[in-house]
Symmetry: C2
Subunit: 447 residues, 2 copies
């Protein structure tokens, strides 16, 4: 009874897949906040390197992965595709369940897939330091690791609630040589303004983004790196789906359901987008996105232009949003606490190509514990949403169908969350429609 489908290193994909040219409805362009006009590449130059800006808008369906990036990928890639025999048995389902294990990277998640090329392109263009935000800490870990590999300095603004909940994450990021500040911090004007109004502010991903962007924009040798949402990030993550496609072919299987959790949408997009051409050409593959009920962007947000950050420093993106000032409840899946989602994923959700489901965190932890009790590994709280959705989908699936979900990260640095869950101390949050409507009022009207 074989469990793991291992792609030989020599067969690791050497190109990423860019979904932009294949989208049935073209992606709405990012808009400049002041004028409402489409953003031009030169506007992004203060915060991103040239290669990344080109990728953000590229019309090419395949983009070469540079050799130095492949070298670092090879420290942990290709990652295994694993048949979850024991989970299937515990559920009593007749479908097959596979998980693509992205927890095997040094950072413990899929995030290095984009951190590595971003660090590489910046280093190649002479940048000395990268600034970024992090929610649960997965992205901060990934970027600090990638910066270490290419000799860059790294500054991480970490959402304060996670900074306090997860001291080990902070140490791990430090251990890769990065400096870490709780956000809101006194290091930026944005942070100082917020702290003046609310000294106890627990932060949000949108706010931390504002701080990191300001840091990059106000320092000559520094650029910004984002861990999700943008096209180039999703592009880099497609190595996950491209490997999965090859691995399923090796096993003589085809996917019926592809399942991932959605915070900003990059791990989900990375898994499903390489299968988009097949789906568009008629193959029956369902793309299932799982998100928290405490931050129900795809299931309850509006599809419209909004800012990516609280301070309105970023371009406007057309995406599902809960409003850029939305403060999600402090659930333990910190990486899913973002008001928006990747425009590419939202574009497909608006077309009905991506289906979204939302879950309470206690149900997700229960699913995570079942996974742990059967397959052995402890999932990250974010990943638990994908597991919950995969279990639901598996129960709905026909005998012989294949459910493939993305195991985006391990939970070894989220043990305080599990302790709280086991003690029965986790609260389930769901915002009222009034709250969400109120938050959406702050959105600009550029539609």
């Amino acid at each position: 009874m074989e469990s793991k489908i291992i792609l030989p290193e020599r067969d690791m994909p050497r190109q990423w897949y860019n979904a932009l040219p294949d989208l049935p409805t073209p992606l709405a362009p990012p808009l400049e906040p002041g004028s409402g006009k489409p953003v031009t590449p030169d506007m992004l130059a203060p915060i991103f390197p040239q290669a990344v800006i080109e990728q953000e808008m590229s019309p090419e369906a395949r983009i070469d992965i540079p050799e130095p990036v492949l070298d670092i990928y090879r420290l942990f890639r290709p990652t295994p595709l694993v048949r979850a025999h024991r989970l299937e048995k515990a559920l009593g389902v007749k479908c097959k369940i596979f998980y693509k294990d992205e927890s095997r990277s040094p950072a413990g998640s899929h995030k290095p897939n984009t951190a590595i090329p971003q660090a590489y392109y910046n280093a190649r263009e002479g940048v000395k330091r990268l600034a970024t935000e992090t929610g649960a800490g997965q992205w901060g870990t990934a970027l600090s690791f990638a910066c270490k590999m290419f000799g860059l300095q790294c500054t991480v603004y970490m959402v304060k609630v996670s900074y306090n909940q997860k001291p080990y994450r902070r140490i791990l990021i430090n251990s890769y040589g990065a400096e870490v500040f709780p956000s809101p911090s006194d290091k930026t004007q944005t942070g100082r303004d917020i702290l003046a109004k609310d000294p106890d502010c627990q932060g949000s991903l949108g706010l931390a983004i504002s701080e990191a962007v300001e840091d990059a924009a106000t320092h000559e040798d520094t650029k910004y790196a984002l861990g999700s949402v943008l096209n180039h990030v999703v592009l880099h993550q497609t190595i996950v789906g491209l490997e999965t496609e090859k691995q399923l072919a090796m096993a003589g299987e085809k996917p019926d359901f592809l399942v991932g959790c959605v915070g900003g949408g990059s791990n989900f997009g990375g898994l499903v987008l390489p299968f988009l051409p097949r789906k568009l050409s008629g193959e029956k593959i369902r793309f299932i996105a799982a998100e928290p009920k405490a931050c129900p962007t795809l299931t309850r947000g509006q599809f419209r232009y909004d800012y990516g950050d609280v301070a309105r420093l970023t371009p406007l993106l057309k995406m599902h949003t809960l409003g850029h000032a939305y403060m999600p409840a402090p659930i333990h899946a910190g990486g899913l606490r973002y008001h928006g989602d990747a425009p590419i994923v939202c574009n497909l959700a608006a077309e009905g190509i991506v289906e979204a489901r939302s879950y309470f965190q206690n149900d997700c932890f229960e699913a995570a514990r079942l996974f742990q009790a059967t397959e052995g590994f402890l999932p990250a709280p974010e990943t638990s949403h994908a597991i919950k959705a995969a279990i639901d989908v598996a129960r709905e699936a026909e005998p012989g169908q294949n459910v493939v979900f993305l195991f985006s990260g391990h939970g070894l640095l989220d043990l305080a969350s599990y302790d709280a869950y086991m003690q029965g101390n986790l609260v389930d949050f769901e915002h009222s429609q009034e709250d969400i409507d109120e938050s959406l009022k702050a959105c600009p009207t550029f539609d």
Copy 2:
């Protein structure tokens, strides 16, 4: 530039290698503490299942791995053998460095290799609960995981200094359904006696063993499981070396140096023993054991009979020992804080077949950080000793030689140690000869 040598799942070894019949000098038998006579199988029956007792004394060179054990092994095995290209380059060495990555298990270390069969054999023989000790927490995690897989209850006595240093370890063990007590505890007579004398006692592995053995011996439905030292434990760990041998053959390489850290000796024995027949038949392979200067069992201990635990409940084993009441300094590599070592490893060390080196913990953390900065992954403090030794050996090696070391576990639950190291707060310990001589006086005289 390929990095990983992946053994296909179908080629995973289906037998363990038992070194007992191949030892140049037969192993001295374990002795019954009271009489000084060799231990008979029936004496071990109260604490071990029959299958384990048979393996402990088996004359067979190959022992079949049961199918249900293989099924659980397949959740994470075979593990990769990885070429450390970037570490080689940073060191400027001309030899090749490989590491066998046992951090990939659910428990994060090599320990499940024996936890799984031990849990299986106990469950098969109708045992309901296993009691054990744990130092740094790796073994407790592994046994609780294995018990979960086979439906057994699990009680873990965790050395108090580690219990307090590593709260996440305790939660992780709990998350696999086990109960965890800091040792010395008030759950056993041994623990209560110690606490009465020294309420602040920080514990030791030897003491925690006493508690777990007492628990098993005094409860009908409970048996004991040990994570290192004994022959059957080392036997189960030989899957590491057997896989490594196949992987090196796949790469067309042969090992010149095999390097591992030694706490009780099981990961080291598991790596090197399968190469013993080749070494004995004249092939030039050096077996290098790395241990802490704070607990220098092989480098400064005496090779003689001693108890395995503080309370003198265990049989006498002929091994290198610092004295069974030795209290090693509270270094962060908790898993290496044991006064003795596996008799098989000691037998070979006494013959000069195993060479031992000892290191200060700051030097080991420095080596670990170099590994992290080049290969990306954060090692456990125990593993850092193997890395330090491997680096030293690589610098001594001839061009073209191969250094293979065992990456026994990751450091993601040891981040407080790294924080202390980065802050410059780690102290290097070395006991005086007087201390060690004094400790050795307590050894029995059965030689």
